[in-house]
Amino acid sequence: MKSTSSPLQIGMGVLLGIVLQPLSLLIVEGLIVATTRAGTEQRGWGLMGATLGYFAYFGMAQVLTILPAALLLLPTGKRGVVRGLLAVGTFLALANIVLLVFLYLANHAGILGFDR
């Protein structure tokens, strides 16, 4: 199959990467639902923790969607879409690192008031 890569495909890849993000949370929540019993405290805490954790660790969660999608699209020859996906994943990962470092430094500077 002939490989193709165009700005349009890249744009579509970026869009797909963004659209796929909530799926990461759904995957984790689905795993929690599958491994816990309905109505238990464990499930409640798990779902709450996953939701909160998603917003703190979105740069890690993206690997659950971006990587499989990129690997699935690669054999189809749509390299532009794969490029777009990887660009979104790279951006999210780096942004997450920046956020974590900022939170750590801000915490120590007393800006957030969590440090004791």
């Binding site: 740069g59 990587l67 990962a93 470092v101 750590y104 004791r116």
Partner: protein
């Protein structure tokens, strides 16, 4: 950029994102290990520990009478300082707070037991023999009572619908007056009584937090703003009012309501506590233990050995013994005896998961929820808390009158 390069970049950045929390944790732990804490050798060996008695639940030190009788909260409120000889004092209500007056009358704030036919909150007085003197219904949310020398009780309470009020109840159980303070507070802060009988209370108004001073007759003298919700009010021997604000602040006011000083601990600790020594030194447990002089300046700072390894912190009220030793326990179960100059006298560790709680009896019995100790000196007779001018020797005590001394009485 070639796809292969982009892929490599993606994998590296994703791996870095996954590894970054671990790296940050490692940096943080390395930083904490560099900071000095009070891990020096103790000046003397710790006293022997006796395991705290167990009732149906682990009893919590609640208050003590001037004659030495100690009261404990568990499922049934009980009394007795002999480990094997505690007796149920009040079987029919769940006791939340207690205070004991000079004549041994025990004042209890409690509510009906779960499953009882009535669902009522009570303020009651009992003789030292456990006979009911009087009982009055109260609002659902109530502070520990503060007792004046004539047996008048003061407390802040609030019905479920809101609107806090300061109430004065005489020794016969008659309401003398009620002053609406207009706040909303599910955990009302106990009032404190100054040496001249003035009552100091936190209004509970979140939007405009204030301390008010009220005469024993219920006349409002002054009000002054505080930074935020207050968790404790104490009165030092010279009449200075010291207020604990959980944002990490201690504020001091003179008896006329003028701010004298404010101190910021740098830590937001919900349950931090304040004790005052006979010489006016303020011990402020808020993250670290701070000793503050009469101008609010730091004399010394004491840090738990686990401060930086497990984020340990002091969050309960310290107590000061007659010999000046400060007893304070930390969130992660370290109990310290600290000398008045900030040195470690001794320290013990517990594996218990119980909440911190300290009560020092008049004869040197140091009670926590997990162990009892016999220490060299009883509770200080001057300062706060003290057997005469109480407040929070474990939340409630003989009286909440600051600055009152044996001589004064």
């Amino acid at each position: 950029m070639r796809l292969r390069t982009l892929f490599a970049l993606y994998l590296i950045s994703t791996a870095a994102a996954i590894g970054s929390p671990f790296a940050i944790q490692k940096v943080e732990m390395a930083r904490r290990r560099m900071i000095p804490v009070n891990s020096e050798a103790p000046l003397e060996p710790a006293p022997a520990q006796l395991e705290a008695p167990r009732g149906e639940f682990r009893p919590i030190p609640a208050c003590q009478a001037p004659d030495g009788v100690e009261y404990y909260k568990d499922y049934h409120f009980s009394s007795g300082s002999d480990i094997n000889d505690r007796r149920t004092f009040v079987p029919d209500i769940n006791v939340q707070f207690c205070a004991v007056s000079k004549d041994g009358t025990v004042y209890l704030v409690g509510s009906s037991l779960v499953g009882a036919s009535d669902n009522q909150s009570w303020f009651r007085a009992y003789t030292r023999a456990g006979q009911l003197k009087w009982s009055m219904p109260r609002d659902e949310y109530c502070s520990p009572p503060a007792l004046s020398r004539d047996g008048t009780a003061y407390f802040i309470s609030m019905p479920r619908t809101g609107n806090t009020a300061l109430t004065s109840v005489d020794a016969a159980g008659q309401v003398r007056w009620t002053l609406a303070t207009g706040g909303f507070d599910w955990n009302p802060v106990p009032p404190a009584i100054g040496p001249d009988g003035t009552v100091y209370a936190y209004t509970g108004v979140r939007s405009a937090p204030e301390i008010i001073a009220v005469t024993a007759q219920g006349k409002k003298l002054w009000n002054t703003s505080v930074l935020a919700k207050v968790s404790q009010i104490v009165v030092s021997p010279d009449g200075t009012i010291v207020v604990n604000v959980p944002s990490g602040h201690a504020l001091a006011f003179d008896p006329q309501g003028h701010e004298l000083w404010r101190f910021y601990s740098g830590a937001r600790v919900i349950n931090g506590g304040i004790a005052v020594a006979a010489d006016g030194t303020v011990y402020f447990a808020a993250g670290f233990l701070f000793a503050l002089d009469k101008k609010g300046a730091t004399k010394w700072t004491y840090k738990s050995e686990r401060t930086y390894t497990t984020n340990d912190y002091f969050d309960g009220s310290p107590v000061v013994a007659d010999d000046g030793t400060i007893y304070v326990d930390s969130y992660y179960h370290l109990l310290y005896a600290v000398t008045p100059d900030g040195r470690k006298k001794w320290g013990v560790s517990s594996t218990s998961t119980s909440l911190p709680g300290l009560m020092l009896s008049n004869d040197g019995g140091l009670r926590t929820e997990w162990a009892w100790f016999a220490v060299s000196s009883g509770l200080a007779t001057h300062g706060w808390p003290s057997p005469n001018g109480d407040a929070g020797n474990r939340r409630c005590q003989e009286t909440n009158e600051g600055g009152a001394t044996k001589e004064a009485q």
